[in-house]
Amino acid sequence: MSIRSKLRRSWPGYVFLTPWLIGFFLLSIFPILASLYLAFTDYDAVNAPVWVGLENFQYMFEFDYRFWQSLKVTFLFVVLSVPAKLIFALIVAMLLDKGIRAVGWYRALFYLPSILGGSIAVAILWRQLFNADGVINSALAVFGIQGPYWLSDPNYSLYTLVVLAIWQFGSPMLIFLAGLRAIPQDLYEAAEIDAATPSRKFFAITVPMLAPVIFFNLVLQMIEAFKSFSGAFIISGGTGAPLDSLLFFTVYLFNEAFSYFRMGYASALGWVLLIIIAAFTAIAFWTSKYWVHYENERG
């Protein structure tokens, strides 16, 4: 194809992409490149950055045991929270998809934790819920169960955070719901005629038709989990305590940048995280070729 005809074919795409392109070149590209540059500097945000080459990365990989700890915590969190959250969100979305009275209010209810999750008020609630003599342990005590120290025992704290993350399943649920609604009903009607079992309908119709949305939720929840900040920051008082068991990568990064005047090092950390996320996202995209099929690509 000649360049000319390529251009002719391309122009509608670029017209629709224009707002994003303007935004990208005007507002996004400089911050991204600047942070990449800062990753190779010693920068305290007060004085001008000083080029130090690979020193930040060298320190990170060779000496910084908290960097490795934060990686470990973050990976564990991603692995534990993402699949569980997605499965939970899908189940609830399917329950809420059809045949329930007052479904709008149920949806609002199930979305509530996600709405409240970011609020400063709820930060105080977590403490009252999960304290040694808090609401949850008091409830467990009724059944004669001695609850653990949810937040102050490093063996439990991360799991407590995982539970909280799963509990805030509202966003993927809503997206699943929208996805379920987009599945043409004639497929189910046809399956009904063939007397397909519910599980057959689920695996033969729902999953393949929902695959693009499942894929979206998987990728986005994974990215969000890698970048997860607020929950751990709030619950650990911004430090990753106890004993760095809640030292999420971004919490560590934030402290380096905004508490200890190491914006350059924090940028280096940020780029390491970016590369990790990009690698996992690339893997997800690669596997999607085998299980995600789009309507507009069907031959």
Partner: protein
């Protein structure tokens, strides 16, 4: 028709009626079970809200000493005094939040659907690279670009205005929504565009008359998220707004608490309860547009 066959037929009818009745009972039981599960789960979901309302009615000296949900003497005054507790009244903060949020929702839905349409339905050179770059903006940890971004807006002279909070929304800065819409747009059958193309429709016409209407659930979802996330965002307003008159609600809520002096927890909870009402309202009104799609399957 012999007698025998007619009896058999009658039997069959009776049996099938019985089966149907059974199925109805079972369906009812299943529905009941579903409701029991949903109600139990709902309690777990609604507890924080109940707790927040209860705390908003407690005096400061009761919030941390007692865990119960019933305030000894409901302090409705937390609502009235909280509304005016800060140097600027909450009328102001709610108005600011509403302006920023409504503009952001509009900007996100329009600009992101534009970009998503390009990525999902149109062919153009360099598409893969642009897509990868767009995904990259989603992956970079926000705190790393916070300062360079601030410097950018400072250069533009936008600091201390709403522009840094609103203009990027009109420039499709939130790749989450682009990617979300892409996934839904790609699910629409190819034949739709092709038929429209043959009828002489322009790409814009296809976007406007076919893709958008058929993607109502996705657009609604994006609008709901956009509303909630903008309404709750505090890092943007924190960095870009200096003047308390311009503050949004989440920023104002954080001003009730102090580590080295008196915190007004009761008032903070009261205003927190009020601050989520617009979100719930928006959600309940708009979720009804997440309707069954009218698209037919392409694999008939």
């Amino acid at each position: 028709m012999t007698d025998a066959t007619s009896t058999r037929l009658a039997d069959l009818t009776a049996v099938s009626a019985q089966l149907r009745a059974d199925r109805a009972v079972r369906a009812k039981r299943a529905a009941l079970l579903k409701h029991v599960f949903l109600i139990a789960a709902s309690f777990v979901m609604i507890y924080p809200l109940l707790w927040m309302v209860a705390s908003s009615l407690k005096p400061n000296d009761e919030i941390f000493g007692q865990l119960g949900l019933t305030p000894s003497d409901p302090q409705w005054s937390n609502y009235t005094s909280g509304w005016n507790a800060l140097p600027v009244s909450f009328t102001n903060f709610f108005w600011n939040s509403a302006v920023v949020t409504v503009l952001s929702v509009i900007g996100n839905v329009i600009s992101c659907s534009f970009a998503a349409y390009a990525f999902a339905r149109l062919e153009f050179s360099g598409k893969t690279i642009w897509f990868a770059l767009m995904m990259m903006t989603l992956m970079i940890p926000y705190h790393v670009v916070l300062i360079p971004q601030y410097l950018t807006f400072l250069q533009l002279g936008w600091v201390n205005t709403y522009l840094p909070l609103v203009v990027p929304r009109f420039l499709a800065s939130d790749a989450f929504f682009i990617f979300l819409m892409i996934q839904f747009f790609r699910q629409l059958p190819r034949e739709l565009d092709e038929a429209a193309m043959i009828d002489g429709c322009s790409p814009f016409k296809i976007y406007w008359a076919i893709i958008l209407p058929l993607s109502l659930p996705a657009m609604t979802t994006a609008a709901i998220f956009s509303f909630i996330w903008t309404w709750e965002d505090f890092l943007g307003p924190l960095v870009y707004l200096n003047d308390i008159k311009d503050y949004t609600v989440p920023l104002a809520l954080r001003m009730f608490l102090s580590q080295d002096s008196v915190s007004e927890f009761g008032q903070m909870f009261a205003m927190s309860v009020l601050s989520i009402l617009p979100i719930i309202l928006f959600f309940v009104i708009f979720q009804r547009f997440i309707i069954r799609g009218i698209a037919m399957s392409g694999m008939k």
